[in-house]
Amino acid sequence: MSVALGIDLGTTNSVAAIATPTGVEFILGPRGERVHPSVVAFPASGGVVVGPDAKRYRLTEPHHVIHSAKRFIGQNIRAPMVQLAMTGVRYRIEEGPNQQPIVVVRDRRMTMPEISSNVLLHLKRCAERQLGTPIKDAVVTVPANFTDGQRQATKEAGRLAGLDVMRLINEPTAAALAYGFGRDRQQLICVFDFGGGTFDVSLLRLNGEVFEVLASEGDFFLGGDDLDRALGEVLASECNRILRVDPRQNAAMMMKLMMGAEAIKIHLSENDAAEGEIDGLDMPGAAGGRLPFQITRKQFEELIAGYVNRTIEVTKQILISTGIDVTQVSDILCVGGSTRIPLVRQRLAETFRKEVNTKINPDEVVAQGAAIQAGSLVGNLHSGSGMGARDAVATAGHSMLGAAGNVVLPAHQAKRPVLMDVNPATLAIHTAGGFTERLLDKNAPIPIERTRVFTTSRDNQTRVENRRYVENEPLGTLVLENLPAKPRGDLQIEVSFRVDSDGILHVRAADQTSGAQQEAHLEVFGAPTAATEQ
């Protein structure tokens, strides 16, 4: 029986798992770690290094270590948020064909899917070593608010890593699947996913084996990285004040401060104050500088309050748009490392007027859900196979070992889950005369298909172009070519728009009068094109 991998491809960390008859088994890295940093390094000695080893090169060769690639994958480099995100990384990004970002490292030009494929390949190899069988199929998770271009690019990354990406599922949906699978729950839950680079919140209705996403909302550029940067900036100005050196000019120094900021952030989740020194700062002229710091949790909370407020605003927004009262929500799942911050949990508890669910492991639950879905798709999960919900109990100290410790068999037979994911963004079409029409609504169930009839606006027109928009961002242009020449309005072309289960849009067109298939293709900005794949 074939084995399919479930992969949570994160901004900072990735996790992979497979579904086995007794529960979910995590893929361990070379040193037995379950969480694999999504970092790719191109050291001077040659070759490609991925994972925890790559992270070490951040200090010695900051310009050749690619991190947070997920923030750029499938993006239009000209988008303002992308430009802003580019200021936060030390490696070089240039504009490539079709406005896609290209990483330049050691004279190599690589697309973002190529970078991410290294991470996927690393996970694939680890899995093959651990399981002793070749692995071809995978389910990869993406943030719920990923756009069409980002989803296509993620699939492309999988293809480059030699994986057949059977399905892209949304991260909050995967978390809900891990939470509810095999437990026959009837409830309304909220999944609050605040990770390293992205923020998502989803409302789901669990109805036995049916997982229906009611609505999903999020902020693509909001995550733990931003909190680190806020704290890093404070450290930088401290450095400037105490040591009289501006670290912002110095990539290695800034990286060191950022790593310090991350460590302080994590420390403050458990402790009320952090005090110490960041040493080994390579200052021009004097190596080994030391920066003393003293930060209380309260100070840190003031610093990040704006970011946290934003997540709470989005959460309230989703409740308003679905018309659901907070009292109807029976459980709040915290996913992603940033939900460990006490302020986040506290604000969430205030919003929902109940304690959040802290029993799940925020780092691993998404990969668990992906593994369950992967197993379901290849037919590995048969009812009564004993595969069932084992997640939510997992945490027992978040131990790195002892995968067997968190397996709880369901009391009854588990049915195969039915995931009803949603369309990530409203799709509208802009036609002659400046009209805009909404075609597929945000939060509609996918896969979904709708058809529209288009006609020509001039006599003997042989080409129709439409600009298509997602959330007011131009997505691309729909082109209908080689149309038969007819008086205007005479030609009736039926175009069907389908968002598939991965959340990717497909377009087909047919001439309504003759029934002949028409050429229709969508030129998506920022998507990998044939020219760049070479």
Partner: protein, 209 residues
């Protein structure tokens, strides 16, 4: 009949109906069914017809057929839900409340306040298209000349969303943001006198402070 042939027959039936089929036909419900009925029907179809369930047992072509059928039913579900939500919002009250008075008064604001009998937190929209605590006179608030203190009445969805936001701000006592949201609501529905009066009231309240 096996599960396999059953789902294929269903898919063929759906696809054969063509693209112009009314939503309720694809969902196999009555035309005047409620949104809840549509949801139940859609869940029922999904439990057997979701393409993921058959991925391992059908050929690629058969999967394509089932996916097309399921996607069309999903489209029908969206269409049905959208249409019903709209009529739910647009439908005027059976016993039309009198138009809101032009003179600003604070009783409508009082009705929006927590002391009204609105349940805590968000007010879910009810069947008659009004907001609870708005369409009905609030307990204890002065009920002028036998009339309810003005329902929002027909309002488009954009205006309604901002109106509800404004309502939430009022509950929290944030008058400034309420004014902003009210203005956004008016931008969404410039004809509504109800919104304009409500805005005037909040503004006068704000001026008092």
């Amino acid at each position: 009949m096996s599960v396999r042939s059953e789902v294929l027959l269903w898919a063929q039936r759906v696809v054969a109906r063509g693209t112009g089929t009314p939503a309720h036909v694809l969902l196999e419900i009555k035309i005047d069914s409620s949104v809840e009925d549509a949801q139940d029907a859609f869940h029922k179809i999904a439990r057997t017809g979701h393409p993921d369930l058959h991925r391992a047992s059908l050929t690629a072509e058969e999967i394509e057929l089932v996916t097309t059928a399921y996607a069309r039913v999903a489209g029908a579900y969206q269409e049905f839900r959208q249409k019903n939500m709209q009529t739910m919002r647009m439908r005027p009250l059976k016993d039309d409340p009198p138009p809101p008075r032009k003179t600003p008064s604070s009783d409508r604001i009082a009705a929006l306040r927590p002391q009204s009998k609105t349940p805590e937190g968000m007010a879910p929209i009810n069947r008659s298209g009004t907001l609870p605590g708005v369409g009905v006179p609030a307990a204890g608030s002065p009920s002028p000349s036998s009339s309810a203190p003005g329902a929002p009445g027909p309002m488009n969805s954009k205006a309604l969303i901002y109106y509800r936001k404004a309502e939430m701000c009022l509950r929290q006592g944030d008058l400034k943001t309420a004014v902003l949201n009210m203005k956004m609501a008016i931008a969404g529905d410039p004809q509504s006198t109800f919104l304009r009066t409500a805005l005037a009231e909040i503004e006068s309240e704000l001026a008092k402070k």
